[in-house]
């Protein structure tokens, strides 16, 4: 692949901005409307991926590899976050036999 891919020449960068915004908003809707803690977690992954895609798009369009290195770091942080978060979810399930976030309202007071 010695030449610039077709996408970069034909698709304006604005399309990637809107696509990532839509993906991010779908993630936000998931966080706000679902009660299952695991699905909330997956929505957060979706939002992280929207940001990753936008970083990669800007990096490719502006020919700056630093953006893709950032995506790599975001993936590493997401992996660590998932490990700890799922451990917390398993612990919650072990204690209250449910992962419905509506039951976990004791922290409010």
């Amino acid at each position: 692949m010695q030449q610039l891919p077709d996408v970069i020449r034909q698709i304006p960068l604005n399309n990637y901005v809107w696509f990532s915004a839509a993906l991010f908003c779908i993630g936000i809707i998931g966080v706000l409307t679902r009660r299952n803690a695991i699905i909330i977690f997956m929505s957060i992954e979706l939002m992280l991926n929207a940001v990753n895609l936008l970083l990669a798009a800007f990096s490719s369009y502006k020919a700056d590899p630093a953006g893709q290195v950032f995506v790599f770091f975001i993936m590493a942080v997401a992996a660590a976050e998932v490990a700890v978060g799922l451990a917390i979810i398993v612990m919650i399930y072990r204690n209250i036999q449910s992962i419905d976030v509506g039951i976990l309202n004791k922290l409010k007071w």
């Binding site: 692949m1 020449r9 009660r35």
Partner: protein, 167 residues
């Protein structure tokens, strides 16, 4: 470039299915599909290293972790009570409003297309490796510390105390 629009529509559709699927297992599978679509976008952007890492780390490792946890938890017996319809509606309206705000804010932005032929090698392993091990060496090493801390934290949280509530 019709394929770009097709792939984008497929990604958004499967992302919507992640949020609206009833069964958590289906949700995970749709999320894996979404990640594969995003990897397709990376290929279109000529970012092949990210494509490989996305498939290996996200679709391979993280999603398998989700799948294992869902299978371990036995969610069938407690079907989650849905939130009240008002809360759901408010959440959906809020997300939609945010999308409208994003689009309105970026509508008149003119970012232009890619410039010249200098960028063809941006996403290759070679150029990324050069910058990762030269300019970003310290963050790269700190990531290993982060992984170590996360591993210790996960083991500590997952350990079963004898007859004690964990929190």
């Amino acid at each position: 470039m019709n394929f770009w629009y097709f792939l984008t529509a497929l990604t958004l559709l499967s992302a919507l299915m992640v949020v609206f699927a009833k069964n958590p297992i289906h949700s995970v599978l749709y999320l894996v599909f979404t990640f594969f679509c995003i990897s397709g976008h990376y290929v279109l952007l000529n970012a092949q290293f990210l494509m490989a890492v996305n498939i290996i780390v996200y679709a391979g490792a993280i999603m398998v972790l989700f799948l294992f946890v869902i299978m371990m938890l036995d969610l069938r017996k407690n079907v989650p009570e849905s939130k009240s319809n008002l809360t759901k509606l408010a959440g959906a309206v809020l997300g939609g409003t945010l999308l409208v705000v994003f689009i309105a804010a970026t509508r008149h932005m003119n970012l232009g297309n890619g410039s010249g032929a200098i960028g063809a090698q941006t996403g290759m392993v070679e150029s990324l490796g050069m910058i990762l091990y030269k300019d970003y060496l310290l963050p790269f090493e700190l990531v290993s510390v982060l992984f170590f801390v996360a591993m210790v934290g996960a083991v500590m949280l997952g350990k079963r105390e004898a007859g004690e509530r964990n929190f």
